[in-house]
């Protein structure tokens, strides 16, 4: 028989349970298997009622974020063999309400993301017939890193500020706001400033820095937020020197 590893999975059924429980499964320990493969093995062969989100299996869709041995991870990019001889503890992403087993409720994030206007804001849209908004490679480079975000929410699970104060806008939403702020085609900086410089925006961040550490796409949300604190402070000073038309 092939080598096995114990997978300790959080189970929760809103109809049945008051609090989540832990169920252990023995799964084959294969060199090329990631934690998501082990979960799919359980679902296919052992218990079809195990619920979790996943889609692309290649670190692009951002659906399979879970806590693996207490760390926020994309389960499609986390190898079982790194945790041998086990057990491997798989829990739903921290700081979000659990809906069922490993599935969390993320509409709070979606609402916050929409609030920061993560799209190109133009004062006046140019007609399609006039062509694209052009951009140099240098202009692209200015925001490219922040545009790599896949909304996997590992950063929210790593952020104690979000855990303690759910009103905080959070790392990914703020980094994505900065992604559009730094885009040469965007004209929405002043609209975003009013939203981002509120208490629950950038100033909620105490720079723990763990969001950047756990980000699988190297977005560096902590950096984006600190850089924006600098910008917001400059704008605040400017509004004193030039009360009118500072923006």
């Amino acid at each position: 028989m092939a080598e096995q590893i114990a997978l300790e999975v959080t189970r929760f059924s809103p109809e049945r349970d008051k609090t989540p429980t832990v169920q252990s499964f023995d799964v084959p320990l294969r060199k090329e298997w990631v934690v998501l493969d082990a979960l799919n093995y359980v679902k296919d062969k052992v218990d079809g009622s195990l619920s979790f989100r996943w889609s692309c299996r290649m670190g692009v869709c951002g659906s399979c974020g879970m806590m693996v041995n207490g760390e926020p991870k994309l389960t499609c990019a986390t190898f079982l063999s790194d945790y041998a001889p086990g057990p491997v503890r798989v829990e739903p992403l921290k700081n979000f309400p659990v809906m069922r087993d490993l599935i969390v409720e993320i509409s709070d994030f979606i609402g916050k993301l929409t609030k920061v206007k993560p799209w190109l804001v133009r004062k006046k849209e140019k007609p399609v017939s006039e062509g694209e908004y052009l951009q140099t490679p240098e202009e692209l480079d200015a925001y490219r890193q922040f545009s790599m975000c896949i909304n996997c929410l590992l950063c929210y699970a790593a952020c104690p500020v979000y855990g303690l104060d759910p009103l905080f806008a959070g790392p990914a939403a703020l980094a994505l706001a900065q992604r559009y702020n730094m885009d040469s085609r965007d004209e929405g900086k002043s609209e975003r400033l009013d939203i981002l410089s509120q208490h629950d925006g950038i100033w909620g961040c105490t720079f723990v820095g763990e969001c950047t550490e756990v980000c699988p796409k190297h977005v560096d949300p902590a950096g984006a937020i600190q850089q924006y604190k600098l910008t917001a402070t400059q704008e605040w000073v400017k509004s004193f020197i030039m009360p009118r038309g500072a923006k």
Binding site: F12, P14, D17, T19, P20, G70, K94, N95, P97, V98, M99, V104, E105, S107, P137, E138, D141, A142, P160, G163, L164, T206, F207, V208, G209, E210, T212, E213, D220, A222, G223, Q226, Q227, K229, L230
Partner: protein, 135 residues
């Protein structure tokens, strides 16, 4: 008949423990960095007390010196020195994150942002050491 609800039931929410910062070194480091501000404040108060003693004349300064010689104060100052150095080092290391300087279309490497901070720290410390220790 089942009806569509726009917002699903709230689900199970785990409350964060008061001791969330104890289990993981990065969180503990963050809390220590925040606490370091208390010790920075203590050094400021100590310096103000020293200036006050200086104004008070030789008698007051001797009293201040004997206060500094108290083993408890020495212990507090050693701990404070550790925290102030920790504060300075973490601050300098975080500086490049907040300052994304771009030159010639490329981002300036982190070492070029934190390096001058460290250099200024060494120069100022050396100047103060020279002032105090030249005899």
């Amino acid at each position: 008949m089942a009806t569509y609800t726009e917002y699903p039931p709230k689900g199970y929410r785990l409350r964060m423990s008061t001791y969330w910062w104890l289990g993981r070194w990065p969180y503990l480091k963050f809390i220590l960095r925040e606490i370091s501000s208390v010790f920075v404040a203590w050094f400021v108060i100590e310096t103000l007390l020293q200036i006050n003693a200086l104004i008070g004349g030789p008698g007051a300064y001797t009293d201040f010196q004997s206060f500094l010689a108290n083993p408890l104060v020495i212990a507090l100052n050693i701990v404070s020195l550790f925290f102030v150095i920790f504060h300075a080092v973490t601050w300098f290391n975080l500086a490049p994150k907040a300052m994304a300087v771009r030159m010639g279309g490329k981002r300036v490497p982190n070492a070029l942002i934190s390096g001058p901070n460290y250099a200024a720290w060494v120069v100022v410390s050396a100047a103060i050491a020279w002032l105090l220790l030249r005899g």
